[in-house]
Symmetry: C2
Subunit: 372 residues, 2 copies
């Protein structure tokens, strides 16, 4: 580890954040609470994170002069999205630590690289095959079967850049519909729950996970998370162990979000057993960890700041029996008055001017008595 990579911050230092959306905004506030300054780098002059940061730079992510200037003004660089171009990360890394590091970006930007990496650790995923042309798609469908999902290897999120391969789907047309770019075919997993592990790893390898949480998606966008997930304690331990194995293999620093499927099976003794398959890795604070803000002693945003500052990680203890997080998407945020009037509901609005359909405008957390 170079001296820059081992750098530890002190109060008064500055965290540079690539991206000015709600994740950058909540990171900037967590940094401020710990006496750090935030400097946001974003191409969007209306970035919500600017409102809570000591400084901001408006420039494109490929503006190398602006990146170099930014890097010189901050003590560590982090990011709120995984599609940071490799060249951007490299320019920044010349000046100081970038956390999480380039291995984490490489492993999460490309679905094929990601799945190969995860399976190389002995962790299960959905069946998958690389598909670079329509011919390869036919072969892959022959092996994996239908239904399956064809996804672009890069730049997909919230259900964008993917198409279902059902009985009768025209394969050539399906491949072309994604633009002819390199893709991956993923078999369907017969899962009963979608869960995620949000965990942090410090610069000395310290690892702390939050309770596994259970996620519900609507239209491919996260709608609600509940912590803890209603899964067996063995399954929860396995999920956290997988996240740790992934973070360790990447020499990871910061919060990592690992999305997983829970599958029901039968153990050797005939008893029911739950197993997990990893779906996706996010090298950043994660939407399914928003419940920790107000729902746990240390929020994921504070935890990420602690990790990238080279500080000890905080307690991940949950407040209350169950914490529910619900995203406010598009005009769902119009319910802010009712949410404010609801006893115990904790409202977060992201300061975005326009409520477009599918846009995450805020979220609300609720500490609930145990239901099940």
């Amino acid at each position: 580890m170079s001296p820059a990579q081992a750098r530890r911050l002190k109060p008064g230092d500055t965290i540079g954040i690539l991206g000015g959306g709600q994740l950058g905004r909540m990171l900037a506030m967590a940094a401020a609470r710990l006496g750090l300054k935030a400097h946001i780098f974003s191409p969007d002059q209306h970035s919500p994170a600017f409102d809570v940061a000591a400084k901001h730079t408006i420039a494109a992510f490929d503006d190398e002069a602006a990146l170099a200037h930014f890097a010189q003004e901050v003590d560590v660089v982090t990011y709120e999205f995984e599609n940071v171009p490799a060249r951007t990360a490299a320019v920044l890394a010349e000046h100081g630590p970038v956390r999480p590091g380039p291995e984490a970006l490489a492993a999460s930007q490309d679905r094929l690289v990601e799945k190969n990496f995860v399976t190389s650790l002995g962790i299960e995923t959905a069946p998958f095959a690389a598909v670079d042309d329509a011919g390869a798609l036919a072969a892959a469908v022959g092996r994996i079967g239908r239904p399956a999902i064809l996804k672009t290897r890069r730049f997909g999120y919230d259900g964008k850049g993917q198409i279902a391969i059902r009985e009768g789907t025209d394969l050539a047309r399906a491949f072309d519909s994604l633009g002819g770019v390199p893709t991956i075919l993923e078999g369907l997993v017969n899962f009963t729950k979608e869960v995620s592990v949000v965990a942090a790893r410090g610069i000395d390898g310290e690892f702390k996970a939050y309770d596994v949480c259970e996620n519900h998606h609507v239209n491919h966008i996260l709608s609600t998370s509940h912590a803890p997930a209603r899964i067996s304690s063995e399954c929860a331990a396995e999920a956290i162990a997988c996240a740790k194995k992934i973070a360790d293999a990447l020499d990871y620093v910061g919060i990592i979000g690992v999305e997983m499927f829970v599958c029901e099976g039968t153990g050797k003794n005939g008893a029911p057993v739950q197993t997990i398959k990893v779906n996706e890795i996010a090298p950043r604070v994660h939407n399914s960890g928003h419940w920790t803000l107000g729902g746990a002693v240390t929020s994921q945003f504070e935890q990420h700041v602690r990790a990238i500052a080279g500080w000890p990680l905080g307690a991940t203890t949950r407040h209350g029996a169950t914490v529910e997080m619900r995203n406010l998407i598009g005009d769902e945020a119009d319910a802010w008055r009712e949410i404010l009037a609801e006893p115990g509901a904790c409202l977060h609005l992201y300061g975005k001017a326009q409520a477009r359909p599918g846009r995450k405008m805020g979220h609300v957390t609720r500490i609930l008595p145990r239901e099940d």
Copy 2:
């Protein structure tokens, strides 16, 4: 109530805050969490609150042009300190609502006005007398006795602007030592605990108090607070009832902090009874309410924002059995590494560059199992 006074905010609106210290900083972050913008007005170019606010104005509190411009840019004005000049408040009030209102400022800026106001509500205080010259001091000491404390009527805080009148204290010299300004003599109260009520009142009169908390001062500066205070439930109810009576009488909007003494006595039936005497009113978020940030469902900062925005108040439910708040004063903040490493401790640093003796640099909250 004029239309301006009744104004309710909506997400995206701006809260103007007079003062750029740690209270303004924590208010600005609470406002951002609810989708509001903060505009800080402070004469100090190094104000810690600037780092987390969408906008700031650097100008003196008597710069009427700057005040008018500021007031036009915000939807409500609040403040982090009670010594806002009356003229400043009046200039701002011409343009929109100032919350809490001028009655609250008038009642808390002058110790004599404050005590007369509180006693007019049938609430007890320490014995007191107005002292405008050395002759009046002799008469007041004759009535109240020694020891007692002579305080300037205005601009005192953290033990500044006061002198003890003990046996043998030269009265003329004591009076002169405070600068010959109007003063008040306060008799000592034989109290066993110092407590405070931090509570909020909304624009429609809704009232919500946090648990009464118990405060310990060192060198006249708050050192620690514990919630809940170890007092009888009757005494806690009386303390909260006093705070409500005060807030109602002022048609108060926002968080109010009321410092009180708890005295031990004997009830009519001979049983021990605890009674309270009000010491001081703070028309703002209060240091003894910092435990609510991380220690309660709604922090006092969010609650103040809700109140001054004309929104419903949030739940004041405490997390855990006891919450301790400890101020980090001067070089006590140097212990930040140890505090970060302590499981469950929640560190807040205010982003102040220099740690001068007596300067509040941060605080730490701890959720503790009940001790007594």
